[in-house]
């Protein structure tokens, strides 16, 4: 289906956490910086902005007043994440990366983006939650590892310096 020599697509999911930033830097160091300027992959950086209503997690009469504030705050965070990611790419001289922000659940968004762009690789960080947190909050990295239609790299920020 792909015509011509198009580069394989790599999707990197980022949020505002340190682990995400580390994952992006790791990816750029490993797969992009050493090959400049002919990068072996086309880089697509995705941020999933949580939906204001779902982020609040409660319903009730008061919610109408709070939603705009939460929404503004989430938009602000998303803008910061995009800027940070752009900054990291610049600092490693990686140009041509595409960035997109979507609203909704990271799990589904990342898998959909992989399908839409026929990505061959998905990279996500890992918050390193314990077993109970993972059961309650759910793990985006685990979901993506099993449901994305491509290979998945889960990058962990090392706790111990080797």
């Amino acid at each position: 289906m792909a015509t011509g020599d198009e580069k394989p697509v790599m999707v990197v999911g980022v949020d505002e956490s340190e682990q995400s930033i580390y994952a992006l830097e790791w990816t750029l160091d490993r797969f992009f910086a050493p090959y400049a300027p002919n990068f072996p992959f086309k880089l697509l950086i995705i941020h999933a902005k949580p939906n204001a209503v779902s982020a609040l997690g409660f319903a009730g009469p008061g919610i109408v007043e709070v939603v705009p504030h939460v929404d503004a705050d989430l938009k602000h965070t998303a803008a910061k994440v995009v800027d940070k990611a752009k900054g990291i790419c610049e600092s490693k001289s990686v140009h041509g990366a595409m960035m997109e922000v979507f609203e909704g659940d990271a799990r589904n968004i990342l898998c959909e983006v992989v399908d839409k762009h026929h990505a061959s690789l998905l990279v996500v960080g890992s918050h390193g939650h314990g077993a109970i947190k993972r059961a309650v909050i759910g793990s985006v990295s685990d979901y993506c590892a099993h449901h994305a239609h491509c290979s998945v790299i889960i990058v962990k920020k090392p706790k111990i310096k080797l």
Binding site: W26, A33, P34, S120, S126, A131, R134, S139, S141, D142, A145, H146, A148, H149, C150, S151, V152, I153, I154, V155, K156, P158, K159, I160, L162
Partner: protein, 159 residues
């Protein structure tokens, strides 16, 4: 600025883990890196001659020995031609070292042990493609490794 990396590959000789090996050789391996093929055997397989290695796994087996059916018979491992071919070609093309380490016990735990003991920079594995319910009932090796490995984990799918 690439430093010599240690890349672990979980190998059970299934199609999926051979895919993972191929992916690792094609995409991750660089000149000077070392590929550690990690294979886990059930504890019941451990006869007296292997009892020495139940605790900490076998010594590191270089590729030349891994190719020899007689040597691998001692460990109770049947050699897999496709896997050996991939390792042979890959190691020559990419100029990487290849060693194998065998463990006896539960694959989940031993893979994590391997990462810690061998100080692997990352680990690559296939996925059996179990459904969510199957993963809960049978247990998922990849989920466990994702959860506990102190290094980046790559799950390779067969597309």
């Amino acid at each position: 600025m690439t430093k010599d990396r240690k890349i672990g590959i979980a190998m059970d000789f299934s199609e999926s883990s051979k895919n993972a090996l191929k992916w690792a050789i094609d995409n991750l391996a660089d000149k000077g890196d070392t590929l550690y093929i990690i294979h886990t055997l059930p504890t019941s397989d451990a006869e007296s001659r292997n009892a020495l290695w139940i605790e900490s796994g076998s010594p590191l087996i270089p590729l030349v020995e891994f190719r020899e059916p007689k040597i691998m018979e001692h460990y109770g491992v049947k050699i897999d031609i496709a896997c050996l071919d991939m390792l042979d070609t890959g190691s020559r093309k990419k100029e990487v070292n290849v060693v194998t380490k065998l463990y006896w016990g539960d694959a989940r735990e031993k893979l994590i042990d391997a990462v810690k003991e061998l100080k692997l920079d990352s680990i690559v594995m296939g996925s059996r493609g179990l459904s969510a319910l199957q993963r809960i009932i049978m247990g998922s090796v990849s989920s466990f490794v994702i959860d506990h490995a102190p290094c980046p984990v790559t799950i390779v799918k067969d597309n």
